[in-house]
């Protein structure tokens, strides 16, 4: 039965992917990409990767959709000109052949995966008790492969630096996004008043259960980030000016605490990012709690883009 539903999901996934590649109108392609992200969430669930499903639900279905819809709307005027540059039939055929070849190679490889499947699950199961957390994914992210998570947090920070560096000189230090006119009776304002309190609670809940069940800081931070963005989009609050000190402190707080605790581990436990015996759980909780606001702010800043208006001093 489950394979029947997987078949349906696979077909639908490919149909939507095909739609986003071949349809003429970019907005239509993006509109197809959003349900595609939601469908991917279903695929992760069928593949029993619940933590990944949660991440996809938050990022793929929520934030990426908003990012692309906004870009497609703004870039709409350039579309006709770009369409004229579509390469000729020969190149299209060559590209099709190359892509088909890649597909076949990957498919053949995947049908001949080694038996039995190599797995690290027994190793994780053996050592998970030393971390004090119950969710193996959290144990991997914050203990066994903590260096990956640290580098990811830093990579996201570089992403924000990259986005900010796109600001025009005259706008540097200013606010991202255009000035908005708020109509207090708008239904969007109502939504932005009702949903965020609930959303923030759900975000913190998902962060909190991450220790023992699917969930964690990335997913929780994304939900919180989306709530803040909703408030900004409704016009109730403006995006913060990028020169604000508190903003920058929150941005680096998570990675900084991560590095400090990692260095402390080098002294107390003999290796960078090693946790002293019996202290693993509290350290993990501290790192996760520090990363949560940093990640939320990082995601918000990535989505709102570079500053577009100079800061007005009042």
């Amino acid at each position: 039965m489950i394979s029947a539903i997987s078949f349906g999901i696979g077909i639908l996934l490919l149909a939507l992917a095909l739609w986003t590649v071949v349809v003429r109108d970019t907005f239509a392609a993006v509109a197809g990409f959003i349900p595609y992200g939601l469908l991917l969430t279903l695929a992760w669930l069928v593949l029993r990767a619940v933590d990944v499903a949660l991440t996809e639900a938050a990022i793929g279905a929520g934030l990426t959709g908003a990012l692309l819809i906004n870009a497609a709307s703004r870039l709409h005027v350039t579309e006709a000109a770009a369409r004229a540059e579509t390469p000729g039939l020969a190149l299209r055929l060559a590209a099709g052949a190359a892509s088909a070849a890649v597909t076949v190679v990957i498919a053949v490889c995947l049908l001949h995966l080694p038996e039995p499947a190599p797995t690290l699950a027994p190793d994780v199961a053996r050592h998970i008790a030393s971390t004090g957390v119950g969710n193996p994914i959290t144990a991997v992210l914050l203990s066994f492969r903590a260096i990956d998570t640290l580098l990811e947090a830093i990579a996201l920070l570089f992403g924000v630096v990259g986005v900010w560096s796109l600001a025009a000189d005259r706008n540097w230090g200013g606010r991202p996004g255009f000035a908005q006119i708020v109509n207090p009776n708008d239904i969007l304002v109502y939504l932005a008043r009702v949903l965020p309190p609930i959303g923030v609670v759900i975000g913190i809940y998902i962060f909190w259960v991450g220790a023992d069940h699917p969930g964690g800081k990335f997913q929780g931070a994304t939900v919180i980030a989306a709530m803040w963005l909703l408030v900004m989009m409704s016009g109730l609050r403006e995006a913060p000016a990028v020169s604000q000190r508190w903003l920058r402190v929150v941005l680096i707080l998570g990675p900084a605490i991560f590095i400090v605790l990692g260095l402390l581990g080098a002294f107390m436990a003999g290796a960078f990012l090693a946790y002293p015996d019996g202290w693993a759980k509290p350290w993990i909780v501290v790192i996760e709690a520090a990363l949560l606001p940093s990640l939320a702010v990082t995601l918000v800043l990535l989505l709102v883009g570079p500053p577009l208006r100079p800061e007005v001093h009042t």
């Binding site: 239904i187 969007l188 109502y190 939504l191 009702v194 949903l195 609930i198």
Partner: protein, 97 residues
Amino acid sequence: MKTAADVFTIVAMLAGIFFFVAGTVGLLRFPDTYTRLHALTKADNLGLGLVVLGLLPQAGHLVVALKLIVVWLLVMLTSADVSQLIARAARRQETRP
């Protein structure tokens, strides 16, 4: 007792499917954006509500059941608002010269 719960689930699910079918038929048959939006947000929400209702007896835990209900309430809240927003956006597009 177990069978009574299962029967309840199946009945609720069938009713839920009915509304999903109705919503899709509406999407296919209705002539303009507003009526399609109406079909989508009303029928599908009721469908989801009935599916949630059917899942309640299958939820192993009271907390899970409560969360299921919260999911439905949240979807109702957001989709009611979003349908209004989309309808207004469609109207703005229409009245533009």
